[in-house]
């Protein structure tokens, strides 16, 4: 604060000014000395030859030292030729060595052999002498040949860079690491400073993630495969249901047609008319075969499995197979030794074999080789070329192999689909393989296709093993046929010579006819009449039971299996058995009885398949009556 406003000139006396300045500087010097004495400083600056050097006092250094010692990374400083000047404890722990064994050594010995050249490159700088702007791509290298302080690096390459490499621990193990090096100038000397990051943890995580990802991808692929199989199975199932339904209705129609045609024959001797009727009957027969194939595909066949030897069956039908195959193709049977028996319907198996053999023949229009091989096989998962889920276990395998034109993948995938065929119009219905497929699945087996285009095809059937001893030499009736082409044995016997007069039967046989379809019912009554039976119609199981309960006396009951109103032929039969154990029963069906409890179940009662001929019905009734006479049982058709 001003004392008095004296107009004092600002130019102070020079001596005064000098005195003030000296006092100021002295005060400063004293202050500085005191500060140093009291330790109020972090560092002192010392003038050296190449400029001021900062000398840090120990305690001021501590935060840095602590940081370097405690950080997660390894730290080290090296001389330009790679000798360790300093290393922190972390690095020592990476290497599994004591610090004293590291400091002073060449660091290269702690690096895996294959990475030493790389380390060398980092240590000594670029490969080229001097830095060439175009050619140099070394990390940390300044492109115009200057170091970080802007000084020329004449004659000296720039060290530094970053890279992954493998450290060599005390036990020889590799420690994956990332090293980052930089060159420093310290008191005119070059030293290399490096940070080393341990990658083990990171690599482990990466590995785990990769494995988890791989597992996920595999699981997804499997799931997709399983879903596809399921979709396929469902599709087949749905088509099967549809087909079975159609076949059943169709069979009823065929029954009406066939039956009426038969009756017609009994009433005329006109040759022209008889020709026409017989031609129509043949059409009905063909229709019956077709529906049978459909049923086979939809696995609603009426199968009768027996324990048989596949070798025996093949030997039995060998002549048939040879004739089917013709002269231009060489057929060879390679039958395995001491094979176990399999459980299968032999008639259907025979039909399947004919099916496959004729397919093979068609694949070799110019002739070739066909081999049938039997063996035991063990399946433990989905077989190649097998649609649908598969059950593991031991099977008997029959392989039909040709060296024909083979199947492309698109055909192979659809080979088992119903109505799919590569044959010309009119040459095949496309039901053959689907029949085989349905039959095998229904029998508890599998079928698989392998094929190479131009190389041939092999169709392999897997049949379930049988646990029962072989049923005594079951001779299969092999119909003689000179026709080429697939000919499944007929389930209805050959047509007898038509006769105008009805067969003679014991008098007054009374038949209770149970059938819900009016036309079929009327037809059956008509047919029975013509055969000499007296028939009483009933439109349902309930009606039939009521009639019986009310005292109706009959000798035999002929009933359809599939009827509405909640009572199937099977149920009716069981009910009748309860009331009248000796009453003969014949069941008829347009389809295998589902109500009986599963398509694969061997029925206790004989089932006469529609459409049937009058003679078949006669035989069935007589057999049932005979069996009933013996006591309680029912004969087999």
């Amino acid at each position: 604060m001003p004392i008095r406003s004296l107009d004092v000139p600002t130019a102070v006396h020079p001596l005064q000014r000098e005195a003030d300045e000296l006092r100021s500087r002295l005060a400063e010097a004293e202050e500085t000395l005191q500060a140093i004495r009291q330790g109020d400083v972090d560092a002192v600056v010392v003038s050296g030859d190449s400029g001021p050097q900062v000398y840090t006092l120990l305690n001021a250094d501590r935060p840095y030292r602590t940081f370097v010692e405690r950080m997660q990374e390894g730290a080290l400083t090296l001389t330009p030729d790679g000798t360790v000047l300093f290393a922190n404890q972390r690095l020592a722990s990476f290497l599994g060595l004591a610090l004293s064994n590291i400091v002073g050594r060449k660091f290269a010995q702690f690096i895996q052999a294959e990475d030493r050249k790389l380390f060398d490159t980092l240590l000594t700088g670029c490969d080229q002498d001097g830095c060439d702007q175009d050619g140099c791509d070394q990390d940390g290298c300044d492109q115009d040949g200057r170091d970080q302080d802007g000084r020329d690096q004449v004659g000296r390459d720039k060290a530094g860079g970053r890279s992954e490499l493998g450290l060599r621990a005390a036990d020889g193990a590799t420690v994956p690491a990332y090293i980052s090096m930089v060159e420093l100038l310290d008191e005119g000397q070059h030293i290399i400073s490096a940070i080393v990051t341990d990658l083990r943890w990171a690599k482990q995580r990466m590995r785990e993630l990769t494995e988890a990802n791989a597992r996920l991808v595999t699981a997804m692929a499997e799931r997709e495969r399983a879903e596809e199989l399921l979709r396929q199975a469902h599709k087949m199932e749905a088509v099967g249901q549809l087909t079975a339904g159609i076949a059943h209705d169709f069979n009823n129609l065929l029954a009406v047609l066939g039956g009426n045609l038969e009756l017609f024959l009994t009433r005329t001797t006109d040759e022209w008319l008889r020709h026409r009727v017989e031609a129509s009957q043949r059409a009905v027969d063909r229709g019956a075969r077709l529906t049978k194939q459909l049923l086979a595909f939809s696995r609603h066949q009426n199968l009768r499995p027996h324990s048989i030897s596949v070798n025996a069956l093949l030997r039995d039908i060998e002549p048939l197979l040879r004739s089917s195959v013709g002269d231009e193709i060489t057929l060879t049977l390679v039958l395995g030794d001491a094979l176990a028996e399999c459980l299968v319907d032999p008639t259907e198996l025979q039909a399947s074999m004919l099916n496959l053999v004729s397919n093979a023949r068609d694949a070799m229009p110019g002739g070739g080789c066909l081999t049938i091989t039997t063996a035991e096989a063990e399946l433990d998962g989905p077989a190649d070329g097998e649609p649908g889920p598969i059950r593991g276990g031991r099977y008997l395998s029959i392989a039909v192999t040709d060296n024909g034109h083979g199947m492309p993948l698109g055909v192979r995938e659809r080979a088992f689909d119903p109505f799919f065929t590569t044959k010309d119009v009119g040459k095949g219905t496309g039901l053959g393989l689907s029949q085989v497929y349905g039959f095998m699945r229904q029998s508890g087996g599998h079928v698989a296709i392998e094929s190479i285009i131009g190389g041939g095809t092999s169709v392999r059937l897997y049949l379930p093993r049988s646990n029962a001893p072989e049923t005594k030499a079951l001779k299969i009736k092999v119909p003689k046929t000179k026709q080429r082409g697939i000919k499944a044995p007929r389930t209805v016997p050959e047509p007898r010579a038509t006769d105008v007069t009805p067969r003679s039967v014991p008098p007054a046989r009374r038949v209770l006819v149970v059938e819900d379809d009016r036309d079929v019912r009327e037809l059956v009554v008509e047919v029975l009449d013509s055969l000499g039976y007296a028939s009483i119609p009933a439109e349902s199981g309930h009606v039939a039971l009521k009639l019986l309960d009310n005292g109706l006396a009959v000798d035999v009951v002929v009933s359809d299996v599939l009827m509405p109103d909640g009572m199937s032929g099977f149920q009716l039969a069981r009910e009748i058995r309860r009331r009248l154990p000796r009453l003969a029963i014949v069941l008829t069906s347009g389809m295998t009885a589902i109500a009986g409890g599963g398509a694969n179940m061997t029925p206790d009662w004989p089932i006469l398949r529609k459409p049937y001929r009058g003679d078949d019905l006669l035989q069935a009734i007589e057999t049932a009556l005979d069996a009933g006479a013996v006591g309680g049982g029912i004969g087999l058709i």
């Binding site: 500085t32 005191q34 500060a35 140093i36 109020d40 400029g51 840090t56 001021a60």
Partner: protein, 106 residues
């Protein structure tokens, strides 16, 4: 008149340079205290530069720095170096000529 004993309340512009060596507790406190003073007393009329001697050792020669931390008042003249306990606000204010020394202080 001794310029030292004249506190400044005028509109003069201050240029200050604080020389430190890296990050230590001491340098942190020095920086903090100096900033506080600038914000309180020299609002809008100061330039403060913090120089790390580790990064720029050659700067020590320019201002003839002997030890760190040192606070240099470049302007207004005369140039003044302050060294010692720079966390002492009172001392700093006096040294910079922003305060009259109270009895008992340096």
């Amino acid at each position: 008149m001794n310029a030292r004993s004249q506190p400044s309340t005028g509109p003069e512009h201050y240029v200050l340079r604080l020389y430190v060596t890296g990050s230590t507790t001491r340098s942190a406190r020095a920086i903090e205290t100096t900033r506080q003073i600038c914000d309180t007393y020299l609002k809008g009329r100061h330039d403060l530069e913090v120089v790390d001697l580790y990064q720029h050792p050659e700067a020590a020669a320019r201002e003839q720095i002997v030890a760190a931390p040192t606070l240099v008042k470049v302007v207004p003249e005369p140039l003044r170096r302050v060294i010692g306990d720079l966390s002492n606000r009172e001392r700093l204010l006096v040294s910079l000529g922003l305060h009259l020394p109270t009895a008992g202080s340096s």
